[in-house]
């Protein structure tokens, strides 16, 4: 199957439109490392949000730790605001099985009890293994099981989507 991926910058603009209309005073964005943080940084800046940006590295909360081991460069999660009672929007680059989002929600509840959590993703590639659905989506794209969709960022901050081989053929 040959798949042509959409332009990441155009998708980001579309996503910004959707997320922007959902922002309230107590809404906070939280990006998931690494691609989700790049997107969240751009959304946070473009939407001129007052609440500081949060970041999550869900490596300590993954359910495949014993199979995949621990990544050495885990960036500390940073939540520079009270989570209790807040409307949160999680931002990730590619939504696949849903396991990353489950891990992110587990971690978030260690910081407090948010009023709500919604999910914004640049790409939804289907293949869900958990009952997780995004509220804001850049595009839905079908790719083969043995392929990954990867978000990259160049030195000028420009975002690009790329296909790569999924050697582990494991869920994102």
């Amino acid at each position: 199957m040959t798949t042509r991926l959409p332009d990441a910058e155009a998708l980001l603009q579309a996503l910004a439109g959707q997320v922007g209309s959902a922002i309230r005073d107590n809404t906070a964005l939280i990006g998931i490392h690494t691609g989700g943080v790049w997107l969240a940084e751009r959304l946070h800046r473009d939407l001129e949000l007052a609440v500081p940006l949060g970041t999550l590295d869900v490596n300590f909360y993954r359910d495949d730790f014993e199979q995949r081991g621990l990544r050495t460069q885990v960036r500390p999660s940073t939540i520079p605001f009270e989570v209790d009672g807040r409307d949160l929007i999680l931002v990730d680059d590619v939504l696949y099985t849903g396991r990353t989002i489950r891990a992110a929600m587990n971690e978030l509840f260690d910081y407090g009890r948010p009023a709500s959590i919604r999910l914004a993703t640049l790409i939804d590639r289907g293949g869900r293994e958990l009952p997780i659905a995004p509220q804001f989506v850049g595009a839905r794209v079908e790719v083969a099981f043995d392929q990954n969709i990867e978000l990259t960022r160049d030195e000028h901050g420009r975002l690009t989507l790329k296909l790569s081989e999924n050697t582990a053929a494991a869920g994102h």
């Binding site: 909360y61 081991g69 050495t72």
Partner: protein
């Protein structure tokens, strides 16, 4: 070539028995992983679920409060179930062999043994006899090594000095009996520290320490000159009255770290101590509590190091 008992077939850390047998890549991996764990201790919920459902047995055949406690905290922060066994007061007194004790605990579905023993090589022996799905971490064996202490020392040094390639490090006191010093020397050498000095009386320095690339000094003024890091070793009580030392007062006069002696080091030198400290024997209170002391951060970083090691062996 003999297989490394600490690494599995994929080269991953499966036991931590000593620093001497580890490649630098694994040491860097432990330090990098530990850095990720430091922030967990600063959160309101100081837990991550990596070892949920795992059983960690602290097998302390020799008394220790501090090391056992930090291993216990580390395991609990990884959500493991922790069982503390002070075996010197139980089965060993009834004559049970170490390996019988371990076999019984393994039959209770242990996943990880943290072993402290007065005999050098005890952790190696246990690792050799447990099944492949059980991991062993050496928490100090005789005069051999105390690898997690050595790693937390180098983690602390890296935290304050960023890198090892331009450092002079002095280790002061009873190097002869110190498993902490041995582990720290191996770790520093492997991570690229160009100059390691051992300072102490002739009776407390190993004769063959030069073979490790360590420079020997018997005089604090010369030994501390321009060093970036000073590790003060604990002087154990039983050494103070023995033939190796005239008296604690004499030792403090010559080798105790006072503000005057600290002034020989670089102005930004940091002072480490594995604890518990003997104030007025190895170190003056004004230095132990002073601005250059990083003794308490060492304790905090020790938890992150032990979390890193436990999570790495558990995922191997």
């Amino acid at each position: 070539m003999t297989a490394n008992p600490q690494l599995n077939a994929r080269g991953e850390l499966t036991h931590l028995l000593d620093i001497e047998g580890l490649p630098a890549s694994i040491l860097w991996q432990i330090l990098d992983t530990a850095r990720s764990f430091v922030s967990i201790g600063e959160r309101e919920v100081k837990k991550v679920p990596l070892l949920r459902g795992k059983s960690v047995f602290n097998l302390f055949f020799e008394a220790s409060t501090r090391t056992r406690t930090t291993f216990e905290i580390a395991a609990k922060r990884l959500s493991a179930d922790v069982i503390n066994l002070n075996i010197s007061t139980s089965s060993q007194n009834k004559g049970e062999r170490v390996l019988d004790t371990v076999a019984n605990l393994a039959a209770m579905n242990a996943d990880l043994f943290v072993v402290r023993h007065a005999q050098s090589g005890a952790a190696h022996l246990i690792a050799k006899h447990v099944s492949p799905d059980i991991h062993v971490i050496n928490a100090g064996d005789g005069r051999h090594e105390h690898p997690t202490q050595g790693l937390l020392d180098v983690f602390t040094i890296r935290h304050y000095k960023n890198e090892f390639s331009n450092l002079r490090v002095a280790i002061v006191g009873d190097v002869l009996h110190s498993r902490v010093a041995r582990s720290q020397i191996h770790a520093l050498a492997r991570l690229g520290c160009p100059e390691i000095r051992a300072i102490g009386p002739r009776t407390l320095l190993p004769r063959d320490i030069g073979a490790l690339g360590v420079h020997v000094y018997h005089d604090m003024a010369a030994g501390l000159k321009d060093v970036d890091v000073i590790t003060m070793l604990r002087l154990q009580n039983e050494r103070m009255q023995g033939p190796l030392l005239p008296s604690p007062q004499e030792f403090f006069k010559n080798y105790g770290l006072t503000p005057e002696k600290l002034a020989f080091a670089r102005p930004d030198a940091i002072v480490l101590h594995p604890g518990p400290i003997n104030r007025g024997v190895e170190i003056d209170s004004s230095v132990a509590d002073g601005s250059q002391s990083v003794i308490l951060p060492q304790v905090t970083f020790g938890i992150a190091i032990r979390m890193a090691v436990m999570s790495m062996v558990a995922s191997s």
